[in-house]
């Protein structure tokens, strides 16, 4: 049985996928996950999830290319520049960096 292992690096931080362990049951999985993902003090907590318990979604159709619904679909770079020019704050932008 494969158990997916998620680890938390510090208290309060989100759990992130670390890898997996193959083990015959939960008690073996616990010991193996401890040794592989916890013995160097790299984690403060682990989640073990049997792979079968995961429900994966991997189909996201976008037949009509609705760019405006995506975070990268709308560039504000030019508009921001214009707005700064109007406000006269262009020179003051930190490090001259411009938002994308």
């Amino acid at each position: 049985m494969v158990y997916e292992v998620f680890r938390q690096e510090r208290k309060g931080q989100p759990f992130q996928h670390a890898g997996s362990v193959t083990a015959p049951d939960e008690s073996f999985a616990e010991v193996y996950a401890r040794e592989q993902y916890g013995r160097r003090q790299e984690s403060v907590a682990l989640w073990l999830v049997p792979r079968e318990a995961l429900h994966q979604i991997a189909d996201f159709p976008d037949e009509f290319e609705m760019k405006y619904r995506r975070v990268d679909g709308y560039s504000i770079k030019a508009r921001l520049r214009e707005a700064r020019e109007r406000a006269g704050t262009l020179e003051m932008a930190p490090g001259g960096a411009e938002a994308e």
């Binding site: 193959t22 083990a23 015959p24 008690s27 073996f28 010991v31 193996y32 040794e35 592989q36």
Partner: protein, 223 residues
Amino acid sequence: MSERADLLLAIADDELFLGWRNSEWTGIAPFLEEDVAFSSIAQNEIGHARALYELAAAELGTTADELAFDRRPEEYRCAPLVQLRRLEWARTIARHWLYETADEIRLEALKASNDPEIAGIAAKMDREEAYHRMHAEMWIDRLLSSEEGRARLNEAVDELWPYALGVLDDELRPELRRRAEERLGRTLPDVEPVTRGVHEAELAELWEEMTMVRRSAPAGARW
């Protein structure tokens, strides 16, 4: 040598030799996860040995490395149980479980020691040994759950039982028998313990290997 140093060396030698023996599975354990876990346990045991040698070294005016590697084979105080080379998985697990069970009894006694350093190191070791016991116990559960596993475990335990008794002093042995019999659900044979001070042929072989690098370098070489 004081009784205290003698005690520290006996336990340190146990941990060093067991760590070394367990590390013989690195790369060839039954499956990958077990390989990583068992190697990690082996490293822990060697870490315990170092801490114990350091404590003894402070008293004897020497260093942990000198105690670990510069003594003659006949000077080691480890129990014969950890000297044996048993590169067969049922025996390895049986030895691991018997040692951890005996070690738990020994640590319980040491934690109550009047010597704060000894009580302290025993408490520290015990917190790590708890995970070794968890590992050993899960294997015992697994082996006891099938007929073949039970038969192989029982055969291995019977072979190692006199050695397991030898890990502990006289007064602690009945407790080891009680715990082991309860866990296995059967009576263990009445045998003469193979005690500390007995040197199996395997000890000299392991000593040769373990000290080879150290002996090849001039005294005082820095690594």
